[in-house]
Amino acid sequence: MSLSIMEIQNLHKTFGNKRNKTTVLNNVSFNVEQGTIHGLLGNNGAGKTTLIKCIVGLLEPDSGDIYYENVDILKDKDIRTDNISVLLDGGRNLYLYMTVKENIKYFTMLHGITNYQNTDRFKMIVEYLDIYNILNTKVSNLSFGMRQRASLAVALACDFKLIILDEPTTGLDIHYQEELTKLLFKLRKDFNITIIVSSHDMNFISHICDYCTLLDSGNVVKSGSVSEFINIFGNSHYILFYDGELNSENILAIKRDLKHVNINETNKVIEVLWPNEESLTYMMNYLHNQNIFIKEIKKENNLKSSIINLLNNNENMGGVK
């Protein structure tokens, strides 16, 4: 069983003044396990970047606590500086007019490390990240993917234990996304680094993460292992291809009797969230009685379907905004 490296408790953050206040994080609580890759999922405006900035000290939360290895890093800021790094979105983490090597030297010096470029660890990191050819290249001349590699080199050089990547796949083509995925797996395995990745790319998150926290309008909808996410609605996302015509009465009846349903009359598809197979049988009987015949049933069983369901559920339950 893993140990929590970070605990976030009741984190609350608002922007604006008393008259016009927007809640961006609403009592957010979850744990991050040591040596895992933890995904932060959510749509634009869900609060992912705000949460990350609160963790690394770029934003001051209104209330709540953030513990890193049981130390409150909102109070002990040096612990945070020594252990947590962030790669913010947009490949803007390094000085563009400096070379990769100069950036590494500068940032390691800020952490009290000198002559880093002569150490074995530096050589190992250069080899590991395959950045030897770009060491003396100015960051402004690097591609987005290579800038990320260079930023990771800085993070590794400074020996951070927790690295946070904010939307790392934005602007990356599929080739670089795959490279990044492999690299993050390697980093976790070989350096025992804990990684937090925020993204709205569910495929990327489901592929890379062990754990996941789903945010919606500043609220944690669910936090847990990716397999938990997939299983929580146990094969619950069904796509039914029907034959026949639905009249308005049928549609009203289906929508009244079935909780979460989406009907596409053009493609003759009914998309439905239902908790178990018994209920599905019930639903098919119901449709049969309505003279609707099911040609094919598809069962969606992935993180994407679970998250869509979770978000729909949250909305239908009047999720706190």
Partner: protein
């Protein structure tokens, strides 16, 4: 120890920056010389027309040369911190240096001190060029001038931190900074009182610079009173600068204005 390395890191980064953008630095120096040429000739013209006595004119012109020299030094430091903050905000690196640095104020102050030393070296070229343009000879007391400049500019560093703090919240404050830089020039010509020597940035330093360059006074010739005013002025403004910067940084963290634009 980390603070020492922070200072090294600042020096390292600033040297790279100065090397990469050497021509920009050079042209800003040339601009100072052109402005000085225009101001000096304009003043001479007005002074001749109003028929000032040669003695008065000579003293006033020396005063102008030294005050202008002081102003160039003030500007190099005054704009520096806010410029570093704005530049980092525009590049998007401000957030990253905040994550990596244990004390942002110290990082900015040390970057500025490196700038100060850099400009101090340049300042000797300045004073040489200014005295050649004006055909006025000045006394050169290297260590005395260095002492006055370093302590005097600490008060300007305080103002610079205030500006940097404001720019953290309001981001674009260039016009305000432009007005302030001429205000700082005007301050140097205000009436000499104990209040102005204590509570105006670089005022006392400017007076001591004039004493050194024009009257050939050195460190040893200054009274304790002079030293006290110079150092107290620096402490007052640096303290104000650090407090305001910290308050502004906290405010920016609450309002979320640190991100790049």
């Amino acid at each position: 120890m980390v603070y020492l390395y922070t200072a090294f890191a600042s020096a390292y980064k600033e040297l790279i920056y100065k090397k990469r953008y050497f021509f920009n630095t050079l042209f800003s120096m040339i601009m100072f010389y052109i402005i000085f040429f225009l101001i000096f000739n304009g003043y001479s013209l007005i002074a001749n027309r109003s028929q000032l006595s040669p003695l008065n004119l000579g003293t006033s012109l020396s005063g102008i040369v030294v005050s202008y020299y002081a102003w160039t030094m003030i500007l190099s430091i005054y704009t520096s911190t806010a410029y570093i903050v704005q530049q980092n905000q525009q590049f998007g690196t401000l957030e990253n240096i905040m994550v990596h640095s244990k004390n942002l104020s110290f990082l900015l102050v040390s970057e500025n001190l490196v700038n100060m030393l850099f400009y101090f070296v340049f300042s000797w070229i300045n004073i040489f060029v200014f005295s050649k343009i004006s055909n006025i000879s000045l006394y050169i007391n290297f260590f005395t001038v260095m002492y006055i400049i370093v302590i005097g500019l600490i008060s300007v560093l305080g103002i610079s931190l205030v500006m940097a703090g404001i720019s953290l919240i309001y981001k674009q404050i260039n016009n305000f900074m432009n007005i302030m830089q001429f205000l700082l020039l005007g301050i140097l010509f205000l009436k000499d009182t104990i209040i102005s020597r204590l509570f105006l940035p670089f005022y006392q330093a400017n007076k001591l610079l004039q004493d050194s360059f024009i009257k050939n006074l050195t460190f040893k010739n200054f009274t304790i009173h002079d030293h006290l005013l110079l150092n107290l002025n620096a402490i007052i403004f640096l303290t104000i600068g650090l407090i305001v910067f910290k308050k502004c940084l906290n405010k920016a963290k609450i309002k979320g204005t640190l991100n790049f634009y």
